[in-house]
Symmetry: C2
Subunit: 240 residues, 2 copies
């Protein structure tokens, strides 16, 4: 079931804030009657909800009684769709390192692209890998794996989950390091990593227009799969 | 050619300090007439040297004229010998993330163990992987890959290169994070990671007797290969 972060989860009828509503209506293309789960990581509660209205970007939910849930700080990885089997390895590492949501993003320079019809199957296969990795490392809840989607949509989804977003870019001039140890531990964080060929300028600009900042991982260019593990590892080790 | 860190590299005859002498004589089993390279990372110099005396743990070198060398802070990974092909992946990641020396350490719980006769071939294959990874990521110098050796010897070798050593251990109670951002940037650091089954108590005690401290990477147990990339990634990102 889809999970959506929401500030103040209370039983009753609720109109979604614009970003979340757009994501539910346009990206997930959910319809009246469909169910999802809403959660508030700061309050540590979650609840089932049913969509009761979708009109353009206006979405209303009927929220059931909330239950307590161990608060997990949202940690989002937007991963440029890579070649071959790398995505499975990345999902496995990201699960161990505490990611709560992994979004495979189809970028301008992604060489591999899943067929539109196979996105759901791909997400399901990756979710199985995540569930197995979570079981092996003793994590109670596996991260959510979004279906592969165009980068623009992936960025919007990340913004819904995370207050702070970093694009790791080989041409960025500001190092990520110093900021990493001073992040507000109660707020969500998203990291965006390009595919093998990196992100195109227009893609970086798009992210910046959505409030992401570009940061550098140092002078040596990392492979996309090394970057994901290194960044999530740094985040986890600094927060542990 | 073997490389050995040495404080104050000057042309002329030099008796090695006890730790380094023991390493050269007992672990590397080098003999009179053999050549190595000595380097002083703080001064940014390196020089060729020839062994002129080996008597027990007493080793003397004739050092040639030193040359300037871009100072690379020693970053040592002592990696518990893992199963299958993982070591190649770990060496590749460690190269991208700036390791200067990788030491495959045969531990009590290592399931795979290279034949004594095949250690040199194994090190050579791993060195090829490191050289290729260095070329791909634009690193001028590939890390040195030591031949697989028993953990006790690997720990001694790490101590020769690094003033500060951390054993990453799932039962450690002190988190690694806070210390990582306050390390003296001019001194070497070593990280010790166990094989799949972890380190035995006696192995941890041995490391502690050599001045290593145990540190935790957080509540979720990482696979050995994820731990290596996560720790080196954190180190690099914080130092970048």
């Amino acid at each position: 079931m889809r999970r959506l972060p929401l500030t103040g989860v209370l039983e009753g009828t609720r109109t979604l804030p614009p970003d979340s509503a757009r994501y539910v209506a346009r990206v997930l293309r959910m319809r009246v009657g469909e169910e999802l789960e809403v959660f508030d990581p700061r309050a540590g509660v979650a609840a089932f909800a049913r969509i009761t209205r979708v009109q353009g970007d206006d979405v209303e939910l009927a929220i059931a009684a909330p239950r307590a849930e161990l608060a997990a700080r949202p940690l989002v990885l937007v991963q440029g769709y890579p070649k071959g089997d790398k995505l499975g390895d990345i999902v496995r590492d990201a699960t161990e390192l505490g990611a709560t949501l992994v979004v495979p993003a189809i970028c301008e320079r992604s060489i591999a692209r899943p067929d539109a019809g196979k996105s759901a199957a791909k997400a399901e296969r990756l979710s199985t890998i995540a569930a197995e990795a979570a079981r092996q490392c003793g994590r109670a809840r596996a991260p959510e794996i979004a279906p592969p989607m165009p980068l623009a949509e992936a960025l919007e989804l990340a913004r819904v989950h995370a207050a702070k977003g970093f694009v790791l870019w080989e041409r960025a001039t500001v190092p990520l390091g110093p900021e990493l140890s001073s992040l507000d531990p109660s707020r969500g964080v998203a990291f965006v990593i390009g595919p093998e060929g990196g992100l195109a300028d227009a893609e970086v600009q798009r992210a910046e227009s959505l409030g992401f900042v570009t940061r550098s991982l140092g002078p040596i260019v990392l492979r996309t799969e090394t970057a994901a593990t290194a960044v999530l590892g740094a985040f986890r080790i600094l927060g542990s």
